[in-house]
Amino acid sequence: MISEIITMNGYGLYVWLSFGITFLICAIIFFYTKKTLKKYERELATEINKLPSETRIKVLEKSKLINQILVSQKKII
């Protein structure tokens, strides 16, 4: 039965290549998207940390989103 699944009655190359390409591309895009998201989160956190303390407090008070990003950054670190 396993050899039947592997050879697919002579069409194994086409079937496995289709599944392989699909899942490989999907995996590459998943990891690339995740990496890009983490990069932008890190960059924003760095920029916020560079701000003078008064401005930083004002920015954090105004933006709940930036607060959440900074919290998620601490989790990563």
Binding site: M8, N9, K34
Partner: protein, 235 residues
């Protein structure tokens, strides 16, 4: 009401949704692959090559669905002038492009043993290639035009023009004599496919939809951060 859909409120929800999809994705993927590769029967005519359908058809459906959503959002973006719609479109476009390309590649791999050729000048194939070029054009416009409002306008126009291609793709197999087989699942609800093949097909569609949702949420979060980063000095 739509303006109240603020980034701040949905950011937390996005993180929760990403965790939820991550937790259910792999069990569903394993079940779907078992059905698609082991449990579903070979076709009486095409043999085991029919299994390519389980990646080819959901890819094409997701590619088309992404474009249809982008078209609706582009029209709404013109009418209601909501910037969020452009951000959503930017997050959907790479998913649509990926699945359109995958549909073309897997279709070619299915065509070789079935039709005896990798690529034919067929109405369905050409219209899918045109869809891929519209996705590429949209992504390139957003990448290379630095003025955000101008690039949003131009890319929305491109999407609206490209929407003419959607019914052409859908009905190409009915309007012209093509190598590509006719639709097995029709809009009116007629299903010409046996349950033993329909179940794995729908399960694989669910996998692709979950994957698309996951990528969309991560891309959307990235796009929001980009906007916040640009506007940090204005806060």
């Amino acid at each position: 009401m739509l303006n109240n859909f603020s980034h701040n409120n949905i950011f937390f929800v996005i993180s929760k949704l990403i965790s939820f999809i991550n937790s259910i994705f792999f069990p569903i993927l394993l079940i779907s692959l078992t059905f698609a590769i082991v449990l579903s029967p070979p076709d009486y005519l095409q043999g085991d090559t029919v299994r390519i359908m389980y990646v080819h058809v959901p890819s094409a459906w997701v590619g088309l669905a992404c474009y249809s959503v982008m078209f609706l959002l582009s029209v709404c973006s013109f009418i209601f002038k909501i910037k969020n719609f452009s951000i959503i479109n930017k997050s959907i476009a790479p998913i649509g492009l990926t699945f359109t390309c995958l549909a073309i590649v897997t279709g070619s791999l299915w065509g070789r043993p079935t039709w005896g050729t990798w690529l034919a000048w067929d109405a369905r194939l050409i219209s899918m290639l045109v869809l891929m070029f519209f996705y590429l054009l949209y992504i390139l416009i957003n990448k290379f035009i630095s003025d955000d409002s101008f690039s949003n306008k131009v890319s929305s126009i491109v999407i609206i023009i490209g929407s003419i291609n959607i019914p052409i793709i859908r009905y190409s197999v009915d309007w012209w004599n093509t190598l590509h087989q006719g639709s097995s699942i029709k809009i009116d609800g007629t299903i010409l496919i046996d349950k033993s093949m329909l179940v794995p097909l729908l399960l694989m569609l669910l996998v692709f939809l979950l994957y698309s949702a996951l990528i969309f949420l991560m891309k959307y979060k990235t796009e929001i951060i980009k906007v916040k980063k640009k506007n940090i000095n204005r806060l």
